[in-house]
Amino acid sequence: MEAASEEKKSGRQQNKATTRVLNILSLFASEQAVFGVTELSQRLGITKNMAYRALTTLVDQGFLVRDGTKYELGYGVLDLIFHTSAEPDFKSIASPHLQELHELTGETVILSVRMKDSQVIIDGLEGVGKLVIRLKIGTSLPLHVSAASRAILAYLPDEEIENYIGRNSPLQKFTKNTLSSRKQLWNDIEQTREQGFATAIEDYKSGSNSIAFPIMAENDWPHGSITVGGPKARFSEKVIKQRLPEFQEIIGACRKWAALYQSSMY
């Protein structure tokens, strides 16, 4: 009985240690950085001995190379590619993060990209419950309407935004809350840039609220946005504010992975 429990404990320990090795390899990828033992142990809250052992395992496998006291990704990583498979696109990079947001909130989660003067929904998950925001993949909206659109618009260069307003004036109004004047739109853009996200309170359809985060691409242009939206009775401004740190953490992870592919996506 005791032996079985010891074995179980040792198995758990081994699993923890191997997961740590894999997570350290992931960290080298997500940060695209060089780490030393001390820095890594501080970063992960583990002992230097643990960090050193994990790094040595990865060097032995050829995945990392050591240069003095620093470690970085090595050419052994190339042994991980076996057959032709395309690099992940924006949709597959964002997919696990959409799932996380959906599990966290139970609300509708949307992935959008810019297409000329519009924002187009390319993926998402519909909310759970009797009252939800319907997910309609392929739907497009003008860049001044909805949080998803304005999270993209706000991060375009000023000149591009002015050109958009010029081309689309008078700006189409969908509800009484739609931002349809140049001044209203610029105020919202400044606020979005300051906060790092856009919000929309019933600006497209009555009864729905949403928050959207831009995902940046090469040259700091927005590649698209991720939105969480729900009926205002459930997804109130207060709920959005409470959930904000969790949203930001998930979006931060998505941005890191998307940044890896910045140059190759275009």
Binding site: Q14, A29, D79, L80, F82, I93
Partner: protein, 282 residues
């Protein structure tokens, strides 16, 4: 932690990487029992390895949920390594234009030891295009892009290359391919800008241009590949002045980048770089 548990953790890390290396080349999802049989490991060890790999997204469940396939982290780690090559980022600025002007898949290769490494690729906009993946590695003599680089090496270096392949992977350079390679290297040395290899059996046409610094030394190479036209009217893609101009701009940009940032692993002895999984695909 004592040395006994150190050893058991090393063994379990090795199991994890063995399991990963078995799943990656498999074209179909693979299950615990099959992995256990192939690696002669107890199913419980395989299961533990899979838990760690799935948790860190190096593997994912296949459609039937009981078997495993490569996970997204594989691509992320590979892309992060390729991002160490700043020439990769620089190349993308021009590859889109070159792919648009030729309609064909356009890729930049660098030398890594005795291999070519594809660091950037843009698929051609034509309906049928040559699908390539960044991260592909091939022995230098196996592709036009590699021949373009071999053509720039000294005779001693070419001899060292032959010795390396002869010692490590003799099956990749038999007498016939060795003769063919000599001819191609000679052609590459005499040609100013292009090498052509036609693989009729694969109906694919590949061209390679050595990308040179202003002093004439080769930095890397550019490959342009696509299907051979069905009507047989043109089996050669002649580089026009527009294409040569784009290639010139790419060369300038890469030279500047290389002067500033250098190339990863350029000081590693080429004989020390042996890739287990290089692919001979062109």
């Amino acid at each position: 932690m004592n040395s006994k548990s150190d050893r058991s953790i090393n063994v379990s890390a090795k199991n994890v990487f063995d399991v990963l290396h078995l799943i990656l080349p498999s074209e179909k999802p693979i299950g615990v029992l099959e992995i256990s049989r192939k690696l002669s490991l107890p199913p419980s060890s395989v299961h533990r390895a899979l838990v760690s790999l799935e948790e860190s997204r190096f593997v994912a469940r296949g459609l039937d949920m009981s078997k495993y396939v490569a996970g997204p982290m594989i691509h992320h780690v590979l892309r992060a390594m390729l991002n160490r090559y700043s020439v990769s980022r620089e190349s993308y600025r021009y590859l889109n234009d070159i792919a648009s002007s030729t309609g064909q898949t356009t890729s930049v290769f660098v030398r890594l030891g005795w291999y070519t490494l594809l660091v950037a690729t843009v698929e051609g906009p034509d309906e049928v295009c040559h699908a390539r993946s960044a991260g592909e590695t091939m022995l230098l003599h196996e592709t036009p892009a590699g021949i373009a680089i071999l053509g720039s090496l000294t005779r001693d270096e070419v001899s060292a290359y032959r010795k390396f392949v002869g010692a490590k992977m003799p099956e990749h350079l038999d007498e016939a391919s060795s003769r063919k390679t000599s001819n191609l290297i000679a052609e590459a040395r005499s040609s100013d800008f292009v090498i052509k290899i036609l693989r009729e059996e694969q109906k694919r046409r590949v061209m390679a241009f050595p990308l040179k610094k202003s002093n004439g030394s080769v930095i890397s190479s550019l490959g342009i590949s696509g299907p051979v036209p069905e009507d047989g009217t043109s089996t050669e893609l002649k580089p026009d002045s527009g294409l040569l101009q784009l290639i010139g701009k790419l060369e300038q940009s890469l030279e500047q980048d290389l002067n500033e940032k250098g190339m990863p692993f350029e000081h590693v002895n080429p004989d020390a770089i042996v890739l287990k999984t290089h692919q001979s695909r062109i």
